[in-house]
Symmetry: C2
């Protein structure tokens, strides 16, 4: 077997836009595994906006250290094992990092992917992305039948699932996305209305498409779109804070806070953040429900696969330019 | 009896700072009352930050019309009546407006002030101010014993009651205010820690005074102080949005949105607005509890009385400069 491990490590912390200068590729020797450990070969990396935050500072997890592989979830296969719980050939999901190989231990932080589940699905609709949509919408947003749900970043991996679950729950669903192609796809998967924020006046279109105002706004983007949604929020409205991708690449002193937040007083609304990891005890139930919807064709999803570990930085930057269509994955090996 | 009614009416809508140019004083003839109506002479006006919003735009109530008396709660006395439910001599609390006299009808929107309750108390600690503190802290903030509660605008009519109720509930209480005199008073009524935002680094002092982070932040001010509190919020923290007095006088395009709002994701926190009027069915219970605490000396409060209807605009402006100490009232007549 190979004696080296290629990694993409953190070279410098981004303060503004993330770019190639923040990464470095290197080869390191592969250390032997110890008792209870397994060597995992990376198959796919899950490219998520939250990685940007880990690169810059301590958040809900400590910042990635300079010189360490970029922290990242992914799917891999066990190639060598001294653990009774991880067998060669097992496909697993955990934090693999941007590298060809990693040493893992059995435990609650590593999940085995059942046979018959495609890896691309395991990393998207049945992975943290789909679970984020599921718990964020249903537990934090609490939509009721007949209510109006608006989602930004709607063509993204999380947003598209949010909108489709909201449709399944009988809601009027409006998606906000950044291209005609994305909007057309959202219409094709059942969104009632779509807004192209690059060519349309979001505030005006929210007035048109949400005649009964907004009950749940699921936010993936922040910035002026969040303000437009806050201004159209209805009484008792809920803003689900999932992310703010428009702001991650902006230096602190230039970040855009939601100026319309005081409208939460007038409408008696709330804005609430969540992290999917808090729902770990309910993942299995949610995955089964999601799997049923996917099997029935009620949830469509797309993956945007970038080939090769060396292109992981480019894959991450895609999220911030909005060039991706669906869940971004990097295929590291077959 | 008098045939004229002096009023302070809205002359122009403020976009930035509210000033004398937005008001006009005028005398109008007093129209006779009809069946079911009563003539009420204004005794005190309650000067509240929310009036600023009503002057500019539609919020949870329609904007005040140009030429109409400034909308304002107040206490008055019935001087003439053709209603069975409002008797001459009754002291009442309702929306009186900035005027010497108003015509009122019986109904749930007008409350009789029981004998033995001082008018100044009825308009502050037992009025909407005290009730706002009570429901905002207890229902929206939901503090638990041993938790850390931070309140801004702490020396104000609402903030000071919030902090004292939080102490009664066994919390560690930190107040933020804008002068040494205010801070000294807050210490004297039992706040554990005080921060003078005009002379101290609020973020640094929150780190010192909230070693276990913040569980409930009751915000009356907005702006950079809200950001500092968001950055110090603990896991599951609640931000109670009561007001944002630092922002009311700022034109829309210059308003300061909380740039640190994304920290709500990392800490799984929420920011929630409320209006006291939604709790009307529970006012009596709350007033009784507040009255008990005041009688036992557990809640101290102060009123800042400005003499004369003509000085109502000045009284309102005091709220925005922070010159007031406690609840601002205007005494219109004896």
């Amino acid at each position: 077997m190979t004696q080296t491990n290629r990694q993409i490590v953190l070279k410098a912390r981004p303060k503004g836009s993330v770019g190639p200068e923040h990464f470095e590729s290197r080869e390191v020797p592969l250390s032997p595994i110890g008792e209870g450990e397994a060597l995992v070969r990376t198959l796919y990396l899950s490219i998520d906006p939250t990685i940007r935050g880990w690169m810059e500072r301590d958040t809900y997890l400590p910042a990635i250290e300079i010189g360490a592989p970029i922290r990242s979830a992914g799917a891999g296969v066990v190639v060598e094992s001294k653990s009774d719980d991880l067998k060669p050939g097992d496909r697993v999901f955990t934090l693999l990092g941007w590298q060809e190989y990693s040493v893992q231990k059995a435990g609650p932080q590593i999940m085995t992917i059942p046979d018959g589940v495609a890896l691309e699905d395991a990393l998207s609709v049945f992975g943290l992305t789909g679970l984020t949509a599921y718990f964020g919408l249903l537990d934090v947003g609490q939509p009721r039948e007949g209510e109006t749900v608006v989602v930004s970043g709607a063509a993204g991996a999380t947003g598209s699932v949010v909108g489709q679950i909201a449709k399944l729950k009988g809601c009027h669903v409006v998606g906000i996305a950044g291209s005609e192609a994305k909007c057309a796809w959202l219409r094709s998967v059942g969104f009632d209305e779509v807004i192209n924020y690059k060519t349309e006046d979001v505030a005006a279109r929210l007035r048109e498409t949400c005649p009964k105002k907004i009950d749940v706004y699921f936010d993936n983007v922040g910035g002026p779109i969040l303000d437009a949604a806050l201004m159209r929020l209805g009484r008792g409205g809920r803003v689900v804070l999932c992310g703010g991708i428009s702001q991650y690449d902006v230096p602190d002193e230039k970040k855009y806070g939601p100026r319309a937040y005081l409208n939460l007083i007038a409408v008696r609304g709330r804005m609430q953040g969540f992290l999917v990891m808090d729902y770990a005890s309910r993942y299995m139930q949610a995955i089964m429900e999601l799997a049923g919807w996917v099997a029935e064709g009620k949830i469509q999803h797309r993956t945007d696969v970038v080939e090769g570990l060396e292109r992981a930085p480019e894959a991450l930057m895609k999220l911030f330019s909005g060039a991706n269509e669906g869940k971004v994955l990097v295929r590291v090996s077959e």
